[in-house]
C-alpha cells in the first residue's frame, strides 16, 4: 500500500465523539452551509470547516491534531446557528483543541495566554499601568481591580499540570 495515501478509519471520529462538544460529529452530512457562512473561510481560502470535519470523519488524526486550522475558528457560532443537522463545527473544533493540547499541540500564543491567565487570575495584569489607574479615577471608577489569583492557580494545578508542554 502506498504510504502517502490515507486509509479511512472511524476511530478518530469515535474519539472526538467522547469529548464534550464533539458528541454529534457524525450528524454532519457535509452539506457545506457552515463553510458558506464562515467569516474566516471568506478571508482565508485554506480554511474550510466542512473539509476539516470530513478529515476527522475519515480519521486523519495526526494531521488534524497538529494543524493550526482548529485554532483559527473564532467561535462566532454562525455555523452552529445555520447547521440544519444540529452540528456545531465551533464546538467540534473546541473538542479537537482539547485533545490536541493533551498530546502537546498548542499554538504558542494560546499557551502563553493560558499561563498568564492562570497565574495572574486575569489576562491583562501586565497591561494595567498607573496611567490606566488614573484614567479610572478620573471617570469615578475604582482603580483597585481586586483580581483573585489563588483560585486560578488551583485550577491550573488540578486540570492543567504539565498539559502545556514546551
Amino acid at each position: 500500500m502506498n504510504n502517502e495515501t490515507h486509509t479511512p478509519s472511524s476511530d478518530f471520529a469515535k474519539e472526538i465523539a467522547l469529548i464534550p462538544g464533539g458528541e454529534v460529529i457524525n450528524k454532519c452530512i457535509q452539506c457545506g452551509i457552515c463553510t458558506a457562512s464562515c467569516v474566516v473561510a471568506c478571508v482565508d481560502d485554506q480554511y474550510r470547516p466542512r473539509r476539516l470535519i470530513q478529515k476527522i470523519l475519515i480519521g486523519k488524526r495526526d494531521e488534524v491534531l497538529k494543524s493550526d486550522q482548529p485554532w483559527l475558528c473564532m467561535t462566532c457560532r454562525m455555523c452552529e446557528e445555520r447547521c440544519q443537522e444540529g452540528v456545531s463545527p465551533a464546538e467540534i473544533f473546541h473538542a479537537v483543541r482539547i485533545l490536541a493540547v493533551k498530546e502537546g499541540h498548542i499554538p504558542k500564543v494560546f499557551q502563553i495566554t493560558v499561563e498568564k491567565v492562570l497565574c495572574d487570575g486575569w489576562m491583562l495584569a501586565d497591561a494595567y499601568t498607573d496611567f490606566n489607574e488614573d484614567e479610572r479615577e478620573d471617570l469615578g471608577l475604582n482603580p483597585a481591580l481586586a483580581w483573585n489569583d489563588t483560585f486560578t492557580k488551583k485550577v491550573k494545578k488540578k486540570y492543567l499540570a504539565g498539559e502545556e508542554s514546551a
Binding site: E4, T5, H6, P8, S10, K27, I29, R51, Q54, L57
Partner: protein, 581 residues
C-alpha cells in the same frame, strides 16, 4: 347527410368570463355568425360549460329546431365530452357538435392584439360553421368487456394487482416465467425501511394468491400470442417446460414484468473477484450471524459500497437514469452490517434518501460511524484485484484527500435496468418504451399506469425504476384501472375512426403497415383481400387515410369534404345573404 335534412346551425360564442371576452369582441363575433350560411341562431354567453350555458343549448335546440351545434369556447380537450353529452341530451347525435377553440388558440395567445384576435375568431367560427354543415350522424358503439385480467409477472407488483382484482370479484390469470412466485423481493434477505426479510414481506401475498379461487396461476410460463382490442383480447400462454399451451379470453391486461438487476461487467473490477458483488447479490446472500467472504468463507471485518454503478451515465443509453431504490437500500444495508463489522464505507456521487423513513436510515448509518465519502464526477474510484485482495483508490472530494482501502467485500449498488426480454413483451402488447428502456405510460403525470393500447396497463419497476413499496402503489392503481373498465361490463369506443371503402381498396397493404396501432388487417375471406379496420383499436389518427394511394380510406368525422370546406370557408369570402355553399 340525408337529402331531406337541411342544416340548421346554432352558434354559441362563449365569453369564458374574461378569458376570451377580455381580448375577443365576442358580441361582434356572434353578430357576424348570424349571417353565415345555415346559421339560424347565434348568441354569446358568459360560461357555456356552466349549468346555465348547457341549458341554453338545450333550450335553443328545441326552440329553433337546431340540428347542428357550434360552441366557440375553450379547447375541445377541456369540454368536448361535456358539450357532446349536452347535445345528446337535447336529442341530437353527439357527432353533430363542433367546438371552436377561441381561448387557447386565440385569446390566450394573442392577448395584446384584440383587433387581430377578433378577426381570427371570426375566421375560425366561419370555418367551424362550414364544417358543421357537413357533419353527419355517427353511431355510438360499445364493446363488451370480458371480466378477466391477465397479469404478466408474479412479483410483488403482479401479486398485489392480482389480489386487488380478484377481491373485487373478477378473474385473474397470473403468468410468471419463473418456477416460483415472488419475483426479486422473495430472494432478498432484508428490505428497507423495516427489518423483515423479503420472503416475510411477499410470502403472505403469495399464500393469499395461491388460495384465491379467482386467480389462475401459470408459472414457468410466458405469453406467446396476444391479439384483440379492449375488453376483447385473446392471449395464448405457453409453459416453457412442457410446451403446453392455453388460450384465454381477456378483458384487461396489467404488465408487471419488473426489472433486471444490472450485472456491471467492466465496472470496478466486477467479475475479477468473488468478493466484488452487486447490492442485489448481497441481498440474496443467506442470512447469517457473521458476514462471510464469498471467496474463502472467512468472516469479513470491513466492507465498502459504491453507489450509482451503471446509473446516471449521460450518453450511455439505458444507463442514464437514476435507479432510485439504491441510496436508501445502501444506507439500510450499511447500518445493519456495521453492527457486525469494524468499518463500513460508502463511496457516493449523491445521496438520494428521498422517501419516507429514508433520511432516518441515512442518519442512523452515520450515527453508527459508517463513513460516507464522496468522489468527484468524472473521477471514478480505481479498483484492482491483486493476489486475491480487492484494492480501492479514490479521491474524497470534501476532505480533499487521496484515499485507499482494502475491503473484505466490495458491494456495487448497480442499476435497475429494463428486462433483457422487454422487447418481445413490448411488441406483444403494442407498447412503447422510452429512452431509458422502461415502458412509456400514456401520460407521465396524468396517466402513469395506462398506455396507448387501451385496456393494457403497466405497473411496478417495469414502468420505471422504483422500490417495492412504490411498486405496490402502482399495482393497486393499475388494478383499479382494470376494475374500472371491467365493472361496467362494456366500454364505449370512439366513432371517429377510419373506414375502408371496399370497392376502392387495391389490396396494397400500405395502410396495414402505416397504422401505428395495428388496427388494420386484410380480410382474407375476400378475393382480392380487402383492408379491414377493427374500430375498437383505431385511434382516429388518420395516417392510413393519408397513406392510401387509392383514397379508399375515409376518416369518419374528418372526411376530405369536411376538411376542405373549412379551407374554402377560410380562403374564400362567404357568399352574401343568399346562403348555401
Amino acid at each position: 347527410m340525408t337529402e331531406a335534412e337541411t342544416p340548421r346551425i346554432g352558434v354559441f360564442i362563449c365569453h369564458c368570463g374574461h378569458n376570451i371576452a377580455g381580448v375577443v369582441d365576442v358580441v361582434r363575433v356572434a353578430k357576424m355568425a348570424e349571417s353565415l350560411p345555415h346559421v339560424v341562431f347565434s348568441t354569446d354567453d358568459m360560461f357555456m360549460c356552466a349549468d346555465a350555458g348547457q341549458q341554453l343549448i338545450k333550450d335553443m335546440v328545441e326552440e329553433h329546431s337546431l340540428n347542428r351545434v357550434v360552441v366557440a369556447s375553450c379547447s375541445p380537450r377541456m369540454h368536448e365530452p361535456t358539450f357532446r353529452r349536452v347535445v345528446e341530451e337535447a336529442g341530437l347525435n353527439r357527432y353533430l357538435f363542433e367546438q371552436t377553440n377561441l381561448r387557447e388558440h386565440v385569446s390566450w395567445c394573442h392577448m395584446r392584439e384584440p383587433e387581430a384576435a377578433t378577426e381570427k375568431a371570426m375566421d375560425l367560427v366561419r370555418m367551424s360553421v362550414a364544417r358543421a354543415a357537413k357533419l353527419e350522424n355517427l353511431p355510438v358503439k360499445s364493446v363488451k368487456v370480458t371480466p378477466r385480467t391477465l397479469v404478466v409477472g408474479g412479483g410483488i407488483t403482479g401479486l398485489r394487482a392480482a389480489l386487488d382484482i380478484a377481491n373485487r370479484g373478477f378473474d385473474v390469470v397470473l403468468v410468471d416465467k419463473e418456477p416460483k412466485l415472488g419475483g426479486h423481493v422473495a430472494k432478498w434477505t432484508h428490505m428497507f425501511t423495516g427489518d423483515r426479510s423479503g420472503s416475510e414481506v411477499v410470502g403472505p401475498l403469495v399464500k393469499e394468491v395461491k388460495a384465491h379461487s379467482r386467480i389462475e396461476i401459470l408459472t414457468n410460463s410466458s405469453v406467446i400470442e396476444f391479439d384483440g382490442y379492449i375488453g376483447n383480447f385473446e392471449a395464448t400462454i405457453e409453459n416453457r417446460k412442457d410446451k403446453a399451451r392455453s388460450k384465454f379470453d381477456i378483458g384487461t391486461v396489467i404488465v408487471a414484468i419488473g426489472f433486471d438487476a444490472f450485472k456491471p461487467h467492466g465496472y470496478y473490477g466486477y467479475g475479477e473477484s468473488p468478493d466484488i458483488v452487486t447490492l442485489a447479490e448481497l441481498q440474496e446472500m443467506p442470512p447469517r450471524d457473521r458476514l462471510l467472504k464469498p471467496s474463502d468463507g472467512k468472516p469479513a471485518s470491513k466492507i465498502a459500497f459504491i453507489g450509482c454503478v451503471g446509473s446516471r451515465e449521460p450518453g450511455k443509453r439505458g444507463h442514464e437514469h437514476c435507479s432510485r431504490h439504491c441510496c436508501p437500500a445502501v444506507a439500510k444495508a450499511a447500518s445493519d452490517l456495521k453492527d457486525r463489522l469494524d468499518e463500513v464505507l460508502i463511496l457516493y456521487k449523491s445521496i438520494r434518501t428521498y422517501g419516507r423513513g429514508h433520511e432516518e436510515l441515512h442518519r442512523l448509518a452515520r450515527s453508527k460511524h459508517v463513513i460516507y465519502s464522496r468522489f468527484p464526477d468524472g473521477e471514478d474510484p480505481v479498483i484492482e484485484v491483486v493476489d486475491g485482495k480487492v484494492k480501492m483508490r479514490w479521491t474524497d472530494i470534501y476532505a480533499d484527500e487521496e484515499l485507499q482501502f482494502e475491503p473484505d467485500i466490495l458491494v456495487l449498488a448497480s442499476a435497475m435496468v429494463a428486462r433483457s426480454d422487454i422487447d418481445e413483451t413490448t411488441k406483444l402488447f403494442g407498447l412503447t418504451r422510452s429512452r431509458d428502456g422502461f415502458f412509456n405510460p400514456e401520460h407521465i403525470k396524468l396517466a402513469p399506469l395506462t398506455t396507448h393500447t387501451a385496456g393494457v396497463m403497466i405497473a411496478g419497476a417495469a414502468q420505471a425504476p422504483k422500490n417495492a413499496s412504490e411498486s405496490v402503489v402502482d399495482a393497486s392503481g393499475a388494478a383499479a384501472k382494470a376494475v374500472g373498465i371491467m365493472a361496467r361490463g362494456e366500454v364505449e369506443i370512439e366513432s371517429t375512426v377510419s373506414r375502408v371503402i371496399s370497392e376502392l381498396c387495391s389490396s396494397c397493404h400500405t395502410c396495414v403497415t402505416a397504422c401505428p396501432y395495428g388496427a388494420i388487417e386484410m380480410d382474407e375471406s375476400k378475393d382480392p383481400p380487402i383492408a379491414f379496420v377493427t374500430e375498437a383499436k383505431c385511434h382516429g389518427c388518420g395516417t392510413c387515410a393519408a397513406a392510401c394511394p387509392s383514397s379508399a380510406i375515409i376518416m369518419l368525422h374528418s372526411t376530405d369534404d369536411q376538411i376542405m370546406t373549412m379551407v374554402q370557408a377560410y380562403l374564400c369570402a362567404p357568399p352574401d345573404t343568399i346562403g348555401g355553399t
